[in-house]
Symmetry: C2
DNA sequence: CCAAAAGTGTTATGCTTACACCCATGC
DNA sequence: GCATGGGTGTAAGCATAACACTTTTGG
């Protein structure tokens, strides 16, 4: 939400942050949206966000707004792009620094429902079936998805979408959801194992079908390393 | 320059733009710096920049500040990153949207000299021998160089560093200056010609040595296409 | 026993890299 | 004639992409 509190018609631009949080639900890439409570966009969906405080860094502001509006914390956040068209907010000139975040949703906001109580509805929406978004947030999501697709191919960022242990099938599922295309299973395994990023746990996940070996990431922090 | 005019000790952050303009001079990557006139950094060098106007877009502000302070216009500009640490400007919280620009210098500011008269000194400085820069502008330049190096490898952006006609040797020289390493001449020619981006002019540049065939870019606008 | 996911190797192709010699010119 | 950059091809190694069958389990 890029809602200026006191923007006069002609005033210096205000600074806000907006956060596009992504996760994979049901093999589809989904983004977290919140309900706008006030102003011309009341009732619309928007990305969580808001004004940057007087002595606050941009990264801190993004993390704070996200936590306050959705309860989501301890999450991978990366600056995306800054949107500053004077027309992007009908209430005044708000320059918004957009962030991308990634999370293993693990059942948060169990499907399209309410959660943030105090702050209006919160929901995951598949990026392929987005509702109309307030402000220029549709453009923010487009830019964010493009960034994610390209970064997944040259970093180890997938780890943010997974729990501590996972099967190679689950790993591939995350890639396919973000990239929006199917990958060859044999080639995928070969390359992932060749990166040396994974460590086999020697355990197995049981389920409805043949049990699958469990893996974990050796290091859970962002690294630049060619993967696909 | 990220100089707030009226920042109170605790106030909403102000919005500025800073521009890192690059060119290749003498086979070295150089960045355009201006002399700071006022404030705690008076006498230091800094990137050109300044406050964003009330109803001005960020792109417009970057182009305007660059033109006003250095006389440089009609240039490739791309948003880089937004720097917002509360400590980056000792005079107050200024969020600065940094831009990268590229230009064929063609003798502008003939070597370390003065030019912007009204706005203090203007000079090209090799990125390998930068003076101390005001604010966090050293970090901006580092980030910008990293971006340039990576973008040169998957776009046709070199064209911004060259005039309308050029030899393959000159083209390679620009790549080597930005990337900071030598390239194999035969492989470079093969790949560049294979991209289909170039058109031979059927003319030749005469000089102190064997004449070289002249080429031009078929299209002088930014495109994403794997090159090196 | 059936459905569904797990697991596994080989081959062809294209791309990348390394590398050396002659040519044309101005001085 | 010499110094300097222009111009050209090939071979080896590597990474990528395409492709099918067997295994294990739960239901």
């Amino acid at each position: 939400m890029s809602t200026p509190a006191e923007a006069a018609p002609v005033a210096a631009p205000l600074v806000a942050v907006d956060v596009a949080v992504f996760t994979v639900i049901d093999r589809r890439l989904a983004v977290l949206v919140v309900e706008v409570r006030h102003g011309p966009f009341a009732g619309w969906w928007a990305l969580p966000g808001g004004r940057v405080g007087p002595a606050e860094s941009l990264d801190d502001a993004a993390a704070r707004e996200l936590r306050e509006q959705t309860g989501v914390g301890d999450i991978y956040l990366e600056q995306l792009y800054t949107f500053g068209s004077p027309e992007r907010d009908p209430q005044g000139h708000v320059v918004s620094v957009a962030y991308v975040a990634l999370i293993d949703h693990a059942g948060r906001f169990a499907e399209p429902g309410r959660a943030g109580s105090k702050y209006g509805g919160v929901a995951w929406r598949p990026v392929t079936a987005l509702p109309a978004l307030a402000y220029d947030h549709a453009a923010v999501v487009r830019t964010a998805v493009a960034r994610l697709r390209s970064k997944l191919e040259y970093t180890n960022l997938v780890y943010t979408l997974l729990g501590r242990s996972f099967t190679l099938g689950e790993l591939q599922e995350k890639y396919e959801a973000v990239l929006g295309r199917r990958l060859d299973r044999r080639n995928f395994r070969k390359k992932m194992l060749a990166t040396g990023l994974l460590r086999g746990l020697g355990r197995v996940r049981r389920g409805p079908h043949r049990p699958a070996a469990l893996y974990t990431f050796r290091r859970r922090r962002p690294m630049v390393i060619s993967i696909l």
